[in-house]
């Protein structure tokens, strides 16, 4: 029995024993305060609505404004409301997200705070925990929750300007030095007729005017429809710097995808990493330290394959790029399927001549053979190794012999040639 009940009982007993009728008045007040506290406290939260407004996606380092709106639909005020928003530690909060406030009747109260994504990932904002109580300490506190919402922080994107990747597809929009892919829609000038030139290329008017046989010349162009094969099989990477290497691989993939989409090319993404969003809602766990959605269920290698990221078919356009970046933001490294086993299956439904950008740790023999098979199947595989390798020349030579090109991009400095400021028209120059 609480001390307040003792007060009521004592008042009653004294009222009856001493026959002081006025004590009833005090008793009414005591009962009234108790009744009000117990009646009003739970109802206050029932008439309260809460909402969270913000942009669901953010680039790395971008500040996002989150607006919490609390509306008291009742005529009676809420004297105090304890508001506690859970924000992951990786999203650096610039204002307080724990505060106490009173809300008048029919009043809407806004609270704005900003978060800054410092690490790619899929984060939950919230839940918003609301606690309310009475003014006299006579009623138990009541709680309410606003379910969490999610924020995707894209991986880092390094702007590229001079990506000169080879292609087997003609009639694209990217300029090329490969004469094989001259574009009749891009006239470049005239030259003297040589043996073997098609009569259809003759420029009869110019020939008549100059009294020489002249033929039309065209600028070459390629179409670089590409699929990014991102190898996130943990066994491919060295244990000591696996975290850094895989993050860098994702950065390279995001940068390439962004550049190609900006060049109006069709780009797709396929990865053998796991996507935690494919887990059942009950199994989804957010890391306590970082606040990111992580993939932690204890499942076998075969079961892991079920959670591998779904492939995104090559398409162009900004919405498609956002889709790719969102998946790149969530991907995690696991021992799912080695690259050599997974790559042929990932390219099974691709068109002929598609450039396959294989981003993996190192170009070992197995990987090279898998890419060779892709080349033989009519694709244009390009190996991009992201781990530093001392004798990458051997890998490069092996790749040349097997019919594809290989690049070692182990740090941002290695991307410098792709990042040079573009002066003239975009002319593709093959990388070293």
């Amino acid at each position: 029995m609480s001390r307040y009940s003792w007060l009521l009982l004592l008042l009653l007993a004294i009222a009856f024993l001493l026959r002081v009728d006025f004590i009833f008045y005090i008793l009414y007040i005591a009962v009234g305060v108790l009744a009000w506290s117990r009646w009003r406290t739970p109802r206050a939260l029932r008439n309260l609505t809460a909402a969270r407004e913000y942009r669901r996606r953010a680039f790395l380092g971008e500040s996002i404004e989150v607006k919490l709106t609390l509306t008291n639909q009742s005529r009676l005020a809420i004297p105090w409301l304890q508001i506690q928003e859970h924000v992951p530690p990786e999203l650096r909060v610039e204002e307080s997200v724990r505060f106490v406030r009173s809300i008048q009747g029919r009043q809407t109260s806004d609270h704005i705070y900003h978060v800054r994504g410092l690490q790619r990932g899929y984060y939950s904002l919230g839940p918003l925990r609301l606690m309310n109580g009475d003014l006299f300490g006579l009623a138990k506190p009541h709680f309410s929750y606003l379910p969490p919402d999610f924020l995707t922080v894209y991986p880092r994107i390094i702007p590229l300007t001079r990506l000169g990747l080879p292609s087997r597809l003609p009639f694209g929009t990217i300029g090329s030095h490969q004469r094989l892919f001259e574009d009749p829609a891009r006239p470049a000038g005239v030259r003297e007729f040589r043996s073997g030139d098609s009569l259809r290329q003759m420029n009869w008017k110019a020939s008549a005017h100059t009294q020489k046989h002249l033929v039309r010349t065209f600028e070459p162009a390629i179409s670089l429809e590409a699929l990014i094969l991102l190898d996130l099989y943990s066994g491919s990477y060295e244990r000591r710097n696996r975290q850094e290497a895989t993050e860098w691989a994702i950065v390279v993939a995001a940068s390439l995808a962004t550049h190609l989409i900006n060049q109006r090319q069709r780009v797709g993404l396929s990865s053998n990493g796991v996507d935690p969003l494919r887990l059942h809602a009950d199994e989804q766990l957010f890391d306590e330290v970082t606040g990111r959605l992580s993939f932690d269920p204890d499942v076998g290698e075969d079961s892991l394959r079920r959670y591998m990221a779904s492939a995104i078919a090559p398409r162009n356009g900004q919405p498609h790029l956002m889709k790719i970046l969102e998946q790149l933001a969530r991907l995690d490294t696991k021992e799912t399927m080695p690259f050599a086993e997974w790559a042929p299956a990932a390219c099974a439904n691709l068109n002929w001549g598609v450039t396959v950008l294989a981003i993996t740790a190192q170009g070992d023999t197995t990987t090279s053979q898998a890419l060779h098979r892709l080349a033989r199947n009519g694709f244009n595989p390009i190996l991009i190794a992201v781990e530093p390798t001392a004798n990458f020349g051997l890998v490069k030579e092996r790749a040349r012999r097997l019919g594809f090109q290989a690049y070692n991009v182990s740090n941002p400095h290695a991307l410098s040639q792709w990042r040079q400021t573009q002066v003239g028209p975009a002319v593709g120059a093959p990388l070293r």
Partner: protein, 573 residues
Amino acid sequence: MSRHSRTTRRIGAIAAAEVQHKPIKGEPLAFQVDMWTRRLVRPLLIAALATSVSIALLEIIRLISPQNAWLALVPLCFFIALEGAYTAAWLNTPDSFGVDRLGYRLAETLLILVVVRIYSWIFLGGGIPSPEELRGYLTAPLSILTVSGFLTSAFVTLVAWSFAVSNGRIFTKLDVSIYEIRFYRLSQPEQKAMGDDRPIQVQRGKLLSAYFRNWLAVGMAMIILAALSTFEVRQFATVSNPLEITRLGLSSAMLLALIIYFLAGFWLLSHGRLLRMNARWLADGMAKEADLERGWQRSSLIILLTIAAIAAFLPIGSTLPISRILSLGVSVIAYLAGVIIQAIGYLFAMTIMMLTGNIEESDPVRPPQLTLPSVEEVIVPPSNPSHPFAEMMVSSIFWTLVIAAILATLFYFLRERGYTLQRERIEGQWQIVIGWLRELWARLAERIRSTGSELRSRLKTPKPATNMHDESQAIRTGFLRLGNLSPRDQIRYYYLALVHRAGERGIRRGVGQTPLEYARELKETWPESEGEIDDITTAFVTARYSSRPLEKSDALTSKQQWRLLRRRLRKPG
């Protein structure tokens, strides 16, 4: 490497390490408290609570001793309680940690007693004591305690004060301290770095329970007092059952006291809850604005007043039937308890007697005969009247000590509160007073000078001899203070006095007679005083007609001559 450079390098390493381990300064927590609630609302509520207790006590005292207007003490009780609440809050501030609590409280109590003494003289004793009464207090110091209801007033006032002090102390401890605010407003890394400075947690739940218990206990006592106040003193002897004494209505003062006590108590309960939540919010790093506390106080007041207003319209049922049932129940329980105790006593006595084994032989136990001892008439020898001088000495020493103690207490009380004696300020005010007195003196001197010059101008103008007669008459009738006059006027005064006295003895100064002619006539009558008459006449002529400055010694000489002449003029014949 020299010693100096090595030292420098060490300092650099230490500084670098300090910089490395220095926590990142973050934005301080926006946690605000409302000062109005603490400095105004809370002390007023505590004072109201304590005053309501004193009203209930005074109402009972009024029933017992209706000849005094006891309720006049209510304002005093309120202000004393307010002072107690503020002092309790002040003693918990960091500035006053060095103050000796016991000494300060004793000083405060003594000053309260002095104030109560003066207040009860004014409002209960018919005003400030007359000089005769004061003389009586001087000779019999202890009689000051027994007049004008001082003891009762002091008791009620001290009850209100102590209640306010105890509640004020509880609420001050419930509030978040400056150390807690300073620590918990730091960012998390800073708090972690200063972990050793983390304030010790106060058991606020226990403090709030202590307040509730106090409030409840005193509230029950007040209700019992209210019940007692419904009883007429004359009927007390006729009431057999103490539970049936409450038959009259409550007085308006008692009703007011009860309402104030319970409403203020509920409001303070809400305030205590706010303070407890405040501490929790601060420790949890919750941002809070000061408006919340104001809104809290406002809301709790509105709720209380609304419920009180609604309760005023609810019917108040009679307690009589249930009271009878309860009384019957209590009587039955008391009867059963008596029976059980008797049975136990009987069994015990039986056991003792059986153990001793002489039940039949022993005489029945008879109650001892209570005989009242005869009261011998003690003839108290009449006490010798004490020596008046010794009595005066004792009372003087007593009052000197009392006044010294009061002054020392007042000085201590004010000094600890920060009111120090500012010597420069007092000296400045003293200089102002001195200046004012000097100015007054200068005005008077100017007035005298102007009067003298006017007199001189009047004397310079040719006047008939009758004028001098008139002047001598005026000297006789007027009231002059010779010490205030200038030497010139004093000489004139002595000469004119001589003229006046000689006229009375028949030697009148004629109209148009010069002083030298008149001196000749005087010398013929009193030849033995020839020298004095010449000297005083010469001095008068000099004072009257010469502009030579006169010294005090001249006036003194004339004064001595005048005394000699006066003595001779008094002699008959």
